[in-house]
Symmetry: D2
Subunit: 388 residues, 4 copies
């Protein structure tokens, strides 16, 4: 099952770490730590092997991939020895990176993007391609009548207006090319009626939103803990300090708002009420790709006794995100192969703001993921392919 | 379903908080925060109502219960207004507290304890009594041939030797009186072959060990988080600072060792390997009943990138423990009524060192607890009683 | 040396805690913990004794002082037993509280305030009165030509415009009444050329700004530590979470900005460069009068090795501020008596944003304070009075 | 002023970092971050320039210095580029490293060590040599009559017994060779009457003990802060988690005890009373040369309100220690040149357990250091040499 992994934002930190890591895994130079699809509960024949993954992508910048990888190595995100050991493999991926499409109308740009995807699939004789958005977070989208259905959308795109935010235009292009779409960011992506309908018409699955890698990951186990113990969370405040490209982008208030909102959702939905407090994101360039998040939780227990918990998370965002990008590509490819259509709500485990969001509890999301993946493996007739 | 709650260590912090809280709930003066049996997932007809609970117990000290309650109020563990509002109810419980039995041999003391239990049950026309051990933690027990079976045990108890640690002698007396036994401490309790056999012979359930209220509670959601994300925990170190009676007792190295070992187990069993680091407990009198625990976790992710997390837990141990004591009494009474016999492994949710311990993951334990309790409610023929 | 302590914002948390504490000290019901003027290095004959302090003040609200004190006791800021033990003393202070002056022009209001101060001084035959501003923090003042000198100011005040922010109007009234003025807040207070000139003309001292009680206090010892060790602070980020009246007021962006700016100053001036990062203040009602501040400091050492420190400060703002208010009143009264005129730069120890600010290092400020106070004691001819 | 820096434990982490850093500074490849003698307050003509420092030392192991440096670079303690850039310089130092002396009696070994020192001084035509002990921490010394005076000591050393711990034997050898001695460890070193007398007889200065680099450094500013604010510290508990050679050595209970005691002293002596709580050191191999210390401080303020502070220090011990080793060598050499004799109590700034210890407050220690160093510069007649 030869599978393409097409990364939007392919020269960014997350994408570069995913590519170097995927190549290193294929070459046997690194182990699968952080890849959940390599856990015993999830491994199995339905998933494309790391050896079957081929990488390509779009980006608006042109920094060579190996330069980006070296910079990440210097920053401690990646081991430099891996970058040094994979020059040919990285050069081959470089060949498959394309500039973000240009053109007078969004329709023209979408056609160009679709063409890039089809070319990639044909050139490498891929069974299918998964498009994963790991580009910079956008501000929330402006409503537009063209969002309502595919026909209205197609008409609107030919006009001079910016009908879709970039993430949705990539999603549209992916669906038009017959590719599944995963959004690892809080951007709009495929979350518009027109794109949902299109995905269903084309028989394609999509997944998202916003990879759950740090503070929210911890929240998704701590909030259920308080709930299961019938403890009342009175306030939950958080501060996320981060540098890196993603951090710089979040200096933009719109992007910051989108991200913060996505982070807060887990609490209200898990606890059944919204405790006081806010989550903030601040850009501190010097922290680079390592993020420090601090959270203070005050709660009351029996007879209203007041207690508190605080935690500090010091994580490397790209190192946490990259293996999940590979997991999502493998799982979405398998779902596509199995005929799954529309939002993959079973992948909520990976996301801060999961599509359909039946639960934000990591344990429940894990249960659903294990069942879903077991179903994929069970339904997998093929005998020739194996994971990892 | 009139149910007795017999507390061993009845004048201690946990017991006193349980009693005051249970009485306050009955009187409608306090809400059920912290009581998991009042969550929608667990409520139901099989559980004795708070109004059906009657309290009694043993202790080696004679501090009046209301003095102890006032001291806890002054320390911020309990609201003073509750103590002030319940003088008659507390006096009634005081009537049901007995000194720890004395006598030349353990056999004599066991008989006395059994007699206390039967008297309590008869006096109050209770359907059944649950004995809950919340007395001071003991050092690990010394092996003795009498631990092998009930016959050997009975013979040995008549001799001059201390065959059983106190917790096990109370468990023995409970079983002889036809009472279920719950151990909220890390002490030996019913965990001896002779006592297990006796419980089975008498058709009685038992539960334990060591209420999971603080650092270990947090561990039981964080360790699975790392496991589910395939992150490698490299070290996990912890320091627990606590005052109060329990803290003072832990200055004894034997008791401390028992407690520390019970705390460490969750990691190895959840992760499948034991990370570096140790958990320590230090007595700091000035902290009183509020405990501060700090944990540092270092872990590696994709391509071995090193990351870290730390948390501080600042909890009131007695306020966390007391509602669980009430929950355990209600659940164990219902299990007894339903004919459950032997170790109640489905109650692992409550314990650091659960009997049978199929999993230390809080979420899995929760799932088992919900199923078990649903079974109790479903099998509950009775129509006259309702929880809470 | 009978001394009046006139509190602007007299029914607020800081003022109420200062009054209850000052009365309790006088009555021998509490010790001087937190009062730096009772340390051996500072005690001495120049300072008015606690028994010589008489309290009064202005406020815009009318909540009875003892109600406010009871509320603070319920919140854990004050021991309830003190409030219960001092009913007459509190009633006597209540008699000396006045509504914030009203009137058509600021000139009219200033006259009314001056009259309140003179009446207070006369009624109690006070040697002098110190006015301490502990009212809500204001937004930064708007420039006005009347700020330039006393003559321009007097003229402008008679017009319909709000020439002075409230804190400066109180400072003006204080100076007109011959009273020294201390500003415990970040508001403008006496920091206008017109008011400085007036103070000098009248031979009065003034002090400020913004009591240093929490995060900034810690900063004022940690920043010098990094400097003395030649370690390079790369970033310093902080989050202050607070409830209480002061927290609520800081929801106002103007007040918040004034406060945040005052907090940041210490770093740049101590280190000689401004590290990255920001200090934020968030209102979390549920935290009440207890504030939690978290700071992350990243720094580099020898050969640029990167290191980090974080701290959490969990303090009761009013309990930290109140003894300093009493200290400032005593010291400023002694300075007034000693003929000190203009800004008391030697009191920088107490402030986040000290007048004249020669140094933000707590240790250096301490040195200056000790010398200054020694000078006051040395110059103190009187034989009849003693501190504490 | 050509100055030898003779390191006991020359192949350890601190020594290697000192050597690489000192060579890098000389070569202009690194800046003086972390070197306090390069601060404007301390710089000046009395100190030997980095270009004037020549390195040598003793060690019991034979790992090549450059291998050790490479290992430290791999662990993130040193930049690898520096090690790569200084091969010849490191080889030259390697030539000056000697095995720890062997021989049947301590007298024989002392003579051998003295001979090593004299050879080093002669070979490099050094004006003087400072011996700095950075070898593994020893358990506290056993008392012996030979410790009383030089004559008794000389006699005892010729016997078969271990009269002196290793650190003291090195100190003895240093003094016999006419070298000043600095002890950066908590070991006994020159702190014996016999060695003190010998130092005075020979006109030599000595300094120590135990470099103040992490938790204790922070304590030495925070404890004075609480004292200056008249806040009552109720408990101060700490946990130090460290890997590396020093950490491994501290698994030995004797060494651990020596270190812990040295850490506790600062509190009692600064506050005037000993708060509850203990400081612990645990070895966690995986943490390598980076140490994490966590401290919890509980304190009470005005009217006994309870508050708390906690901090986490995440420092690279060797990177913090190495520049201080260079500072101490420079300052001690200048003191020796200036005729200072006996314990250099003015260097308390550098130590956890300073000789003579008039104060543990970092700010006061800084004041004394600045004065002392100014005196050295003032008394420095020479015109030809300049620092740095
Ligand atoms: N790292 C994590 O843990 C994590 C978690 C959740 C979500 N995310 C999201 O993943 C995304 C990537 O994060 P990152 O750290 O790699 O950021 P980054 O800034 O390093 O990379 C983003 C890349 O997207 C490119 N880009 C921007 N606009 C584009 C466009 N219109 N078309 C194509 N490329 C475009 C940029 O040139 C850049 O190379 C962000 O949106 C972030 O919010 C990351
Ligand atoms: N509070 C928690 O969060 C928590 C969690 C897990 C386990 N526990 C365990 O619960 C127990 C009680 O804790 P606590 O804080 O109430 O302690 P405590 O010291 O306040 O109370 C213990 C009581 O047991 C009594 N006692 C001692 N030996 C006895 C004996 N032989 N017979 C009868 N009574 C005896 C003591 O007199 C005392 O009144 C401890 O073993 C503790 O380890 C508590
Ligand atoms: N508590 C601390 O640690 C600390 C430290 C530094 C500065 N401060 C400052 O001290 C001040 C008081 O803090 P608080 O916690 O007591 O706040 P608070 O809100 O409890 O009290 C402020 C009082 O001022 C009164 N007030 C408002 N406007 C007034 C006016 N124009 N005239 C007279 N009274 C007026 C209010 O009615 C209120 O009673 C704030 O400005 C705060 O920023 C406090
Ligand atoms: N790094 C810090 O921040 C710091 C602070 C205060 C004190 N110290 C002390 O500095 C010392 C060195 O620390 P480190 O991290 O470099 O330890 P390390 O274990 O890396 O180095 C110690 C070296 O001493 C050598 N050694 C042991 N016994 C010896 C002997 N008898 N003669 C000669 N050499 C001997 C060892 O072989 C080793 O090479 C320790 O005592 C430590 O407690 C370090
Ligand atoms: Na913390
Ligand atoms: Na922390």
């Amino acid at each position: 099952m030869r599978t393409g992994v097409w990364l939007v934002g392919a020269r960014g930190s997350v994408a570069t770490t995913s590519i170097v890591g995927g190549l290193a895994l294929r070459a046997g130079l690194a182990g699968p730590t952080g890849c959940v699809t390599e856990l015993p509960e999830l491994r199995g024949p339905a998933l494309p092997a790391f050896a079957d993954l081929v990488y390509g992508g779009h980006d608006v910048v042109t920094t060579p991939l190996c330069k980006r990888a070296e910079a990440l190595a210097a920053a401690g995100v990646l081991p430099g020895r891996l970058v040094a050991a994979l020059p040919d493999e990285l050069a081959a991926v470089e060949e498959e990176l394309r500039p973000a499409p240009t053109g007078a109308t969004q329709a023209v740009r979408a056609v160009a993007a679709t063409r890039d995807l089809i070319g990639f699939r044909d050139r490498h004789q891929l069974d299918r391609v998964v498009v994963v958005n790991v580009s910079a977070t956008e501000p929330p989208a402006h409503p537009h009548p063209g969002h309502a259905d595919p026909t209205a959308l197609r008409a609107a795109l030919t006009g001079p207006q910016e009908v879709l935010p970039a993430s949705s235009l990539y999603a549209y292009a992916a669906l038009e090319a017959g590719c599944a779409y995963v959004d690892f960011t809080p951007s709009t992506g495929a979350r518009l009626p027109a794109l949902h309908t299109l995905a269903v018409e084309r028989g394609l699955p999509y997944a998202g939103h916003d990879g759950k890698t740090g503070e929210t990951l911890v929240k998704s186990v701590l909030a259920p803990m308080f709930a299961m113990r019938h403890l009342r969370v009175r306030s939950w405040s958080g501060l996320n300090l981060l540098g890196g490209g993603d951090g710089a982008n979040l200096v933009d208030p719109g992007a910051n708002a989108a991200k913060v909102e996505s982070k807060q959702r887990v609490l209200g939905e898990t606890l059944g009420y919204v405790p006081q407090g806010e989550t903030r994101i601040d850009f501190v360039e010097e922290l680079g790709d390592f993020k420090t998040a601090w959270d203070l939780i005050t709660f009351s227990g029996f007879l209203d006794t007041r207690m508190r918990m605080e935690f500090t998370w010091h994580g490397c965002d790209s190192a946490l995100a990259a293996p999940l990008v590979l997991d999502l590509a493998r799982l979405t490819a398998a779902a596509h192969a199995a005929g799954e259509v529309g939002p993959l709500t079973e992948l909520g485990f990976f996301f801060k703001d999961p599509l359909g969001s039946p639960s934000h509890s990591l344990a429940e999301q894990w249960g659903r993921l294990v069942n879903f993946t077991r179903g994929l493996h069970a339904g997998h007739g093929g005998s020739d392919e194996h994971a990892g």
